[in-house]
């Protein structure tokens, strides 16, 4: 894949505050990249740097093979969609869409064609003559996407575009954005703090923290093989269950020894063929826990008391206290459990994740 965006050793500081630190990132042509992280991790800042709305302190930005580090935002070949829509309130939707094209000095005929085309793609044709104030949230965001669309840009930047919408609309528009990407095959960079948006939309996810990218991988890889404990905790809801303990030899094989449980690690895929013994975290996702008859066949079996049940319809979440620890388990939606029950459950340690206690990196 040819790189559409390349970011080399990018850094940005406001005075003594370093927001981005020596950051490298390559985004392939037509790729959908999601920047994911909690607030203050620098993801929006990175997007603003790519857009040229913030001047970088160091490093380079290439878009489409062209060095745009010092270019004006409008000269970078990008379209941008903002969280608050940022539609110009005094202009109609058509005026909003054509504003950038008029600034670029395009002929009227072409402006009209492009606006019509974008309106058709986004199904906002009946709204073209309305002012933003007369639109609903979803329509506004569609108009804002249209404003990026008419620019015929190679790269689309989305800055938390769905965060101001209600849950239902958010799901609808998420699907629309995905369809739009499948239709247009533009490079898209999408900033969000919502892991569901990230998992569903992305070709690759970059998880950011403190101005650095912790892991850049496909959603599947990030879910199944998180590179660090932070990533493991960040992705997945309810969050991963962790046991503190250490890796050691027992009964002829490698084992993870928690306080009073031993998990055999014969099938666990270590990053390194010869893992070091020592203090570590063992993490297992709630949905990888099994209970009932399945539990009897699981390599690790545990028993605990159900403290709390959260029926969601599709699944049921149960908080269980077992061997002095609180664990979340995801069960079938129709599972018959009530608080106070004693529950047998188990899991396969091969599906777990082990992180070094000191560095919190995957082993």
């Amino acid at each position: 894949m040819e790189a559409s965006i390349a970011i080399n050793n990018l850094s940005l500081s406001f005075g003594s505050l370093e927001v981005l630190k020596d950051l490298n990132l390559d985004v392939g042509q037509g790729e959908f990249l999601v920047l994911l992280g909690s607030s203050g991790c620098g993801k929006s800042t990175l997007l603003n740097c790519i857009a040229g709305l913030l001047d970088v302190t160091g490093g380079q930005i290439f878009i489409g093979g062209r060095n745009v580090t010092w270019e004006e935002p409008s000269k970078r070949g990008i379209g941008m969609v903002f969280q608050s829509y940022a539609l110009y309130p005094q202009m109609t939707v058509a005026g909003n869409l054509s504003f950038g094209l008029k600034n670029a000095g395009l002929p009227k005929q072409e402006i009209r064609e492009r606006v019509d085309r974008a309106a058709k793609v986004l199904q906002i044709e009946p709204l073209l003559n309305r002012k933003p104030a007369a639109l609903s949230g979803g329509q506004r965001q569609r108009a804002a996407i249209g404003r990026a669309l008419v620019r015929d840009a190679d790269v689309f930047l989305f800055d938390e575009p769905l965060s101001n919408l209600d849950a239902k609309l958010r799901a609808d528009l998420r699907v629309e954005i995905k369809q739009l990407h499948q239709k247009l095959h533009n490079t898209m960079i999408y900033v969000t703090h919502d892991q569901i948006e990230a998992m569903t939309l992305a070709d690759r996810i970059a998880i950011m923290r403190g101005g650095r990218i912790l892991q850049l991988a496909s959603p599947k890889e990030i879910y199944n093989r998180p590179a660090s404990k932070y990533v493991a905790e960040f992705i997945g809801s309810p969050t991963m269950n962790f046991f503190a303990g250490e890796i050691g030899e027992a009964g002829g094989g490698l084992c993870f020894m928690a306080s009073d449980n031993i998990f055999p690690l014969d099938d666990y895929a270590f990053l390194d063929r010869s893992p070091v013994a020592g203090a570590a975290w063992f993490g297992i996702r709630p949905e990888h826990m099994v209970c009932g008859t399945d539990a009897e066949n699981a390599p690790v079996r545990l028993q605990g008391r159900v403290e709390l049940v959260e029926p969601l319809g599709s699944d049921t979440l149960a908080r269980i206290s077992a061997s002095g620890q609180v664990l979340w388990i995801r069960m079938d939606g129709q599972a018959n459990v009530t608080a106070g029950d004693t529950l047998q459950f188990g899991f396969d340690p091969a599906r777990g994740n082990i992180f070094d206690k000191a560095t919190e990196d995957r082993v």
Binding site: L53, S74, K75, G79, A86, Q90, G100, N103
Partner: protein, 331 residues
């Protein structure tokens, strides 16, 4: 804009229609199947007494206060419509027996100051010539200032702003003489353009503050979007910011019009007698020591002078409210 539901306005939701077909119907003991389930006692909207103690207090106070403030205006208008013999009777609250508009005509066109006898008209046109360019110039410059300070932060912009604000706290009197010298050196002393310049400069701190704060409250993303759309400094200002900012322009205009129209000190110092603004002219008419004191002419002249700010308030007050309402529906 979402409208708050009128909880009290006979909204269907609160009209007390019991859900007779609800699944819990069987559980309600002794509820008749068809009749209303209303019992004795308070129901529906709470009645409000018109003549409650609270209303009497509020409206009583409002009426007394407004009478108190309107009384001088009443006396002025009534007096200005009387002839001198009637005024000499001393009944200042009595309505005019013999209504005459002669004092108004005299105040406008014939009243004498020490130097000439054209009445207020000369001062009125001088004031207009001062007012219009000063208001336009000061608002134009201050709005661009505020826009630049809010959206295009440059190195030292905060310091620049701080200095400008400090300027608002320095008493005028300190600067009077230096400005006299400055204007004299520039060859503008005693001319209307000199006074326009002074008004523009003195309006700068407060207006810049006003515009900066307003533009800072405009969402930053709007500004970013315009930059991505390729709009430059002036393009964003004229096409995005100004159309969104009608309310603040109206506020600035009210401030400047009243301030400049009512100014006396600068008018007296930086112009010469035939260019005196209306306020100075008014003073010269009212305080002229020759002959008898014509109270009716003085009253008419005073009302005439106050008419311009009053009109501005009446016209733009409405615009102002409309502007605020329009500004509230942000996209």
């Amino acid at each position: 804009m979402t409208k708050a539901p009128h909880l009290l306005k006979g909204s269907l939701k609160y009209a007390g229609e019991p859900a007779e077909t609800g699944p819990d119907r069987a559980l309600r003991p002794g509820s008749p199947a068809t009749a209303t389930r209303m019992m004795d006692g308070p129901a529906g909207r709470k009645p409000r007494k018109v003549l409650s103690r609270r209303n009497i207090m509020i409206y009583g106070t409002l009426i007394v206060v407004s009478l108190y403030y309107l009384l001088p205006l009443y006396v002025m208008i009534v007096t200005s419509l009387k002839g001198m013999p009637e005024i000499r009777l001393g009944n200042i609250f009595a309505p005019p027996v013999d209504v005459t508009f002669q004092p108004w005509v005299k105040a406008w066109a014939e009243a004498c100051t020490g130097l000439n006898c054209d009445g207020l008209s000369r001062g009125f046109f001088n004031s207009v010539k001062i007012l219009v360019p000063s208001v336009i110039l000061s608002i134009a410059i201050a709005s661009v200032n505020g826009y630049a300070l809010a959206n295009w932060r440059f190195k030292g912009s905060e310091t620049f702003f701080a200095i400008l604000i400090v300027g608002a706290f320095i008493p005028y009197q300190v600067m009077i003489y230096p400005i006299v010298i400055l204007l004299r050196e520039m060859g503008l002393y005693g001319s209307l353009s000199g006074l326009v310049l002074v008004h523009t400069i003195f309006g700068m701190p407060i207006l810049t503050l006003l515009f900066r704060n307003y533009f800072a409250s405009v969402p930053q993303e709007l500004f970013k979007a315009a930059r991505v759309d390729g709009a430059g400094f002036w393009s964003i200002y004229f096409r995005i910011m100004v159309p969104m900012s009608l309310p603040i322009f109206v506020v600035a205009m009210i401030l400047q019009v009243t301030g400049i129209w009512n100014d006396f000190l600068f008018g007296v110092i930086y112009t010469k007698p035939d260019l005196y603004p209306m306020t100075v002219q008014l003073n010269n008419i009212v305080n002229s020591t020759q002959g008898v004191k014509e109270y009716n002419v003085n009253m008419a002249a005073t009302v005439l002078t106050g008419l311009v700010p009053l009109t501005i308030y009446f016209i733009s007050g409405k615009l102002f409210v409309r502007g605020i309402a329009a500004g509230a529906v942000k996209g």
